[in-house]
């Protein structure tokens, strides 16, 4: 393939980042992150299937500051991927391709995914009463 000098389209890096392009690559990145979250979910369920000791170990790990940081990142990734996924489904129906709508829905995705993440964590620790 070394001698293959066919013309290529310019690399993505030469373009100025825009709302549309940044949201697009973030969708991918959160997707990859969520695949790791899926593996963690399996580990969590498996630890409970193994018994109380392994479940306690998993809980300690996830309740550490690092564990919580990771979980917070997973929560945001899920809400982002979900909100932007709805945006994608709109496009699949032919809705929202106009530049103005692209930008508006993009901003809505950013705001709502942050808001939903913070709201979930406040609800989760609200009823426990401690962080």
């Amino acid at each position: 393939m070394a001698e293959d000098h066919r013309p290529l389209s310019p690399h993505l890096q030469v373009y100025r980042p825009q709302v549309t392009s940044v949201l697009s690559i973030t969708h991918r990145m959160t997707g990859v992150v969520l695949s790791m979250a899926a593996v963690l979910l399996t580990y969590w369920l498996a630890s409970a299937a193994y018994g109380p000791d392994s479940f306690a170990r998993a809980q300690t790990m996830m309740e550490s500051w690092f564990g919580r940081l990771v979980m917070f990142g997973f929560t945001f990734s899920l809400f982002y991927h979900m909100c932007n996924g709805i945006r994608h489904l709109g496009w699949d129906l032919g809705w929202g391709f106009e530049l103005v709508r692209l930008r508006i829905t993009g901003v809505i995705v950013i705001i709502s995914s942050f808001a939903l993440t913070v709201m979930s964590w406040m609800m989760a620790y609200g009823h426990v009463g401690k962080l």
Binding site: R28, G31, V32, L34, S35, A38, V39, L41, T42, L45, A46, A48, A49, P52, F55, A56, T75, L78, M82, G85, I86, H88, L89, D92, S120, M123, A124, Y125, H127, V128
Partner: protein, 134 residues
């Protein structure tokens, strides 16, 4: 120079030559499977997050009781199936887009596909074990 056989001497029909090479009615399969799992994941993820919120701070017994509840077991299994299906469809595209060495690409695709089955099956079996033992 070219080894292309003389067209007039080809006995196979045009349809016969393209069959199995292209996307005859299968072109949208990956796309459609991704959307279908995405639509299933919408309510399932919301249910899952809500469950995690209510489960925060609960111990082993409470967690076991929650998983064992019939509706929760069913939703967990559905969640795991649609999530790992959706994840491997997405990861496949990421690998195909960014990995250009054929050997690496093949290896990573196999890892993604087998990995989804491995972790998906393990998760489902864990749910069944917890709920059927409790």
């Amino acid at each position: 120079m070219s080894k292309t056989p003389n067209r007039s001497r080809q006995l196979r029909s045009k349809l016969g030559r393209v069959r199995g090479l292209g996307s005859t009615h299968e072109g949208v399969h990956h796309w459609w499977a991704q959307r279908m799992s995405a639509m299933a994941l919408l309510p399932l993820s919301l249910w899952f997050i809500f469950s995690l919120i209510t489960l925060t701070g609960s111990d082993y017994v409470a967690f076991q009781a929650w998983v064992s509840e019939f509706g929760n077991s069913v939703f967990l299994v559905l969640f795991l199936i649609s999530m790992f299906h959706h994840a491997q469809l997405g990861l496949q595209v990421v690998v195909e887009d960014y990995v250009h060495s054929e050997l690496w690409k093949m290896g990573l695709l196999l890892a993604v596909k087998y990995g989804a089955f491995l972790f998906g099956a393990s998760g489902i079996f864990a749910v069944l074990k917890i709920s059927l033992a409790g």
